[in-house]
């Protein structure tokens, strides 16, 4: 992508394209990776609500695999996940292990 020169910038750095955060992939920040254990998932969608980015995609009212392009590995989903019978449906694993 060619970077803009100072004459081409929107005034005041206002972002005029709604939803342009989709172009900003934060996956490379991740040191820990959330792993979904489908067998423990009750589909409460807490993870979808709490995720600060859009790494959890919901289709027909159900979550599926993580979209790691947007997952910065913050661990909020894993913390909030109630899981089933004391078993978390999301666990954090160190990247590169």
């Amino acid at each position: 992508m060619k970077l803009k020169g100072w004459r081409e910038l929107p005034l005041g750095a206002v972002v005029l394209d709604a939803g342009s955060a989709a172009e900003f992939k934060t996956g490379s920040w991740r040191a820990f990776r959330p792993v979904w254990k489908e067998e423990n998932c009750i589909q409460c969608l807490f993870c979808w609500m709490y995720c600060p980015d859009m790494a959890i995609k919901v289709k027909d009212g159900r979550r599926g695999e993580f979209d790691y392009d947007y997952c910065k590995g913050c661990g909020i989903c894993a913390l909030e996940c109630p899981g089933k019978k004391g078993q978390k449906a999301i666990v954090m694993e160190e990247e590169g292990k």
């Binding site: 100072w6 910038l9 750095a13 972002v15 709604a18």
Partner: protein, 392 residues
């Protein structure tokens, strides 16, 4: 038809704000500004304006609320002084960098410590680099006129920058002077309908304010911010020309007083310029070619125009009612830069006066002009920076 009244500077500026009828005002009281916003709040309570007033818990919040309201799409005002302006500091840069045309009268007052409530220019001079346009006013009439003009300058579609209108605490804010008010509809027409730019409240076109800009783009934004500032003086003059048609009162980027053939000159801001002009006349009567330059637009600073106005002067004294401890006064540094552009190298001395409301008397101006006269005739320069009106 102008209406002639006897009012204080605060009252005159509050009336200008009433006549413009902004959408939002977020303010916090601080001496000597308090009575300006108090009067404006009365206009709100009495239904004289349609303004929504937001009473906040600090000046930091006042400026934050102004930023939100301006980004929302409103015409926004506030006012402050001294510590209040200092507390806004963080948000001042955000208002300017986000290009929000907020108008803010600043009733100039000294900064603590020691605590002092009286007039000097250290508050607004400290905000010099915040990206705000600054207009300075000698008296209540100029403060009233500058406030009305500020809206047109700030809101111009090619500018969109916040404007401070500076007036001296107590000397101007609390003294009763003869003022010519414009009619309400004249001011309303002059200010015009507010034109929105990227209003957040236009929910059909969502947008985001205040994104994180990293090293790959930050410097480009700052370069663009400087560029818009370089275009401001043209619009200041355009607006002044329109204002003159309406009011008969003429404004420029600065006032040149008997400068055309001046061999010695004073550069001095705001109320003290009135006193100094009288003294310039006294010296002219004695055949001494003295003149005075009173800046009006301090940011952006009109370097070339100022340099050319001062070109005949052999010795210049820049009078600062604010200090930079361990450095020269802020106005001195601007004039020194301007003279470098000019290529002419007059002797330039700096006097610090009037801090914390210390009176500036005709004797002080006489002393300075006599000293300049000696220097211009080849006399010795005592010192480049000196405090006047201070006890040893």
């Amino acid at each position: 038809m102008a209406k002639i009244v006897a009012v204080t500077g605060n009252e005159a500026v509050a009336n200008a704000l009433r006549q413009v009828n902004p959408d939002v005002c977020a303010a916090y009281p601080i001496t000597p500004q308090t009575d300006m916003m108090q009067r404006f709040a009365s206009f709100v309570s009495d239904g004289k304006v349609d303004t929504e007033i937001i009473l906040v818990e600090s000046e930091h919040s006042a400026m934050s609320a102004c930023i939100g309201a301006a980004a929302g799409g409103g015409r926004v005002v506030t006012a402050t002084s001294s510590q209040g302006l200092a507390l806004m500091w963080e948000m001042l840069f955000i208002a300017a960098g986000t290009r929000l045309p907020i108008v803010m009268p600043v009733v100039n007052r000294a900064l603590s410590s020691p605590l002092n409530i009286h007039g000097d220019h250290s508050d607004a001079m400290g905000a010099r680099d915040s990206g705000w346009i600054q207009l300075w006013s000698e008296n209540a009439q100029e403060a009233y006129d500058n406030t009305i003009q500020a809206f047109r300058i700030a809101e111009h579609m090619d500018i969109r920058l916040p404007v401070m209108v500076c007036l001296d605490g107590f000397i101007t804010s609390h003294s009763i002077e003869r003022i010519e008010y414009l009619e309400d509809d004249e001011v309303k027409n002059f200010a015009g309908e507010y034109q929105q730019l990227y209003p957040l409240l236009d929910v059909d076109n969502p947008k985001s304010y205040g994104p994180l800009i990293l090293p790959d783009l930050y410097m480009e934004y700052k370069r663009a911010q400087h560029e818009v500032m370089t275009r401001v003086s043209k619009f200041v003059l355009d607006v002044a020309a329109d204002f003159e048609k309406l009011s008969g009162r003429k404004y420029g980027l600065f006032e040149s007083y008997r400068l055309d053939d001046a061999e010695i000159a004073l550069v001095i801001l705001n109320s003290a310029a009135g006193t100094a002009k009288d003294v310039v006349d006294e010296f002219r009567d004695k055949g001494i070619k003295a003149g005075l330059l009173k800046p009006r637009l301090f940011r952006p600073f009109p370097y070339e125009e100022v340099a050319s106005a001062l070109k005949s002067a052999k010795a210049i004294c820049v009078m600062d009612r604010a200090d930079s401890f361990g450095g020269f006064g802020p106005m001195y540094m601007e004039i020194a830069s301007a003279m470098m552009l000019n290529g002419s190298r007059p002797i330039l001395i700096n006097k610090i006066y009037g801090l914390g409301g210390r009176d500036f008397m005709p004797e002080h101006a006489q002393m300075v002009i006599s000293e300049l006269d000696e220097i211009a005739k080849g006399g010795k320069i005592k010192t480049f920076k000196e405090y006047i009106g201070v006890r040893e």
